[in-house]
Symmetry: C2
């Protein structure tokens, strides 16, 4: 099927870019040096390509992602890099076939995990502005976990505040300050895992021993401003021009079809004016008519993927496959 | 079930508010004066309450919404208030049991509708910054539709640029200017329908003969700033505190669980700092611990509803029902 036959709005991935990105990251961070984060793409079939590239462990943001990977046979070493006290969901993870490790940062999260049959954890240390315990609490939490029959595999710290910083030196300074705190906690807690990082810091975070990158496969426009990113834009939002005004055209990919938290999408063939619920208004550099196709680049892939049921795989102009975005919702 | 037993993040509607809003709007715009827009809630069960309140016609933004309403027996008079040239979807609408009217604003959209067996349309006139033809084109398009065996029921114009304006006089001036253009087109085109408007302009748009409001049922924080809105906040995003820091708490309702195009959610019990993919950081006015529940008010209901599978119905603290948000996707 030609890409222009797809009903719109719909997502498509450039297979060449996707394969390049996976291979390039596997070259930079082979095997266990990368624990791919599936929250960015929420697609089991894509995780399989990452597994085939040599990464056997995965990072998840939700129990649903983790259980989904386990059911797909990708459960060799799954980390829920997030806190939960939902015991039904913790039990579902514990009862899966996977090796399951959860992030904990409080007595409450450890107790919920213990009651649900979870047997391994990492101590999540706050090195930025999200979850995590203070460095000073890490030792006592590790002790509480051990007493609760949960093995402590190490520490985790996510430097989310550094991830999108464009200047590489500024970014490195933020990462270093964050990671020194993480290593301080690791000195107390011990364990094999020092886990953190993401696409934005994958090349400069040399303090952790595994990187939790996910966006690199499909890429965000935010990251493409970073000079040290080798990855190619892989995700596009296909739309159809449905209305033509004297000064702009309107396509059928609005804000319900893409994440808006990083702002408007970009477009290679003109200017993006604004998005409304069902539409995006564009000023094309060359004349467009009703029915013409327009591919936008969503500003943030994670929430964009989470809005769609299907990711189409495109090589050239040919749709060669369609993958279910099967790890969505909660 | 108590509301605090719901797995999070999840949406819930305050049934008292929802019933009040539906009744109040039916009092203000009874029967055919309102053609409820389902794009805001995408929920057939909710549309049935609107039907029970006396509104037999509905407005849709997508063919999927329209076909879904038709299948649910709500097809007495359905308007696709949007342009499409997707002939498969147009045919699916034409083949439904519903009375189907589509918006057209170009020769291409009329021809696609004609080829697909659509038999009624409204001429969509650009009175704002989205779809619609120029006033001067309306007559020729109506003629082309008639020649293509599509009856022209009248005109449509959506004054989206006025919808969120807080000051009622500013808003009225914008609506008046837009609607005078619409009436100019109606003088040429004729027909029974002069359709447009929304929740933000429902009380001041006296030029149309039916209002396409949808948000009033669940309400947006944007509209609650408008002094002339009688409607109550009906939609909430239930979340769980998963991490507690010295200066803030982190709950599990992030930007994947709510529309971000109108900005951060609001919260009645403290300050919202920021949203990340899976989390929202909050500064509570009184101390919160891990496991406590927090209900946020999403800034924009339309894209928020589109992200969830289920809407829980809550009276007091009791979950009395769960409705599938069944008109999502495309």
């Amino acid at each position: 099927m030609h890409i222009n036959e797809l009903p719109t709005p719909t997502l498509w991935a450039d297979v060449d870019a996707l394969e390049f990105n996976i291979a390039e990251m596997a070259r930079r961070l082979p095997g266990k040096r990368l624990r791919p984060h599936v929250k960015a793409h929420k697609t089991t079939e894509l995780a399989k390509l990452q597994r085939d590239a040599g990464h056997l462990g995965f990072t998840c943001a939700t129990p649903k992602e983790l259980v989904g990977l386990a059911e797909a046979g990708l459960g060799e070493d799954l980390l829920l890099a997030n806190e939960t006290v939902d015991e039904n969901r913790l039990r579902a993870m514990a009862n899966s076939d996977a090796r399951v490790t959860v992030a904990v940062d409080s007595i409450a999260t450890i107790d919920a995990a213990a009651r649900s049959g979870i047997s391994e954890c990492v101590i999540d240390v706050r090195v930025g502005f999200r979850c995590g315990c203070e460095v000073e609490e890490a030792g006592a939490l590790a002790e509480h976990a051990s007493k609760s029959n949960i093995s402590v595999r190490g520490v985790m710290g996510y430097e989310g505040h550094a991830m999108g910083v464009v200047d590489v030196n500024d970014r490195r300074n933020l990462v270093e300050a964050a990671m020194l705190r993480l290593l301080e906690a690791h000195e107390i807690v011990g364990g094999d895992l020092i886990t953190g990082g993401g696409t934005g810091t994958h090349a400069i975070n040399t303090w952790v021993n595994e990187i939790q990158a996910g966006s690199y496969v499909l890429m965000d426009t935010a990251y493409t401003e970073q000079q040290d990113q080798p990855f190619k834009q892989g995700l596009f939002l296909q739309s159809t021009v449905v209305s033509v005004a004297p000064n702009f055209v309107v396509c059928d990919a609005g804000l319900k079809s893409q994440g808006m938290d990083h702002g408007n999408p970009t477009w290679h063939e003109g200017e993006v004016l604004f998005c409304s619920d069902e539409h995006t208004n564009l000023v094309p550099t060359s004349s467009l008519k009703v029915g013409d196709r327009v591919s936008l680049v969503p500003a943030h892939i994670d929430p964009t993927m989470a809005k769609h049921q299907v990711l189409h795989l495109v090589r050239g102009n040919e749709v060669i496959d369609a993958w279910k975005i099967d790890l969505r919702h909660w």
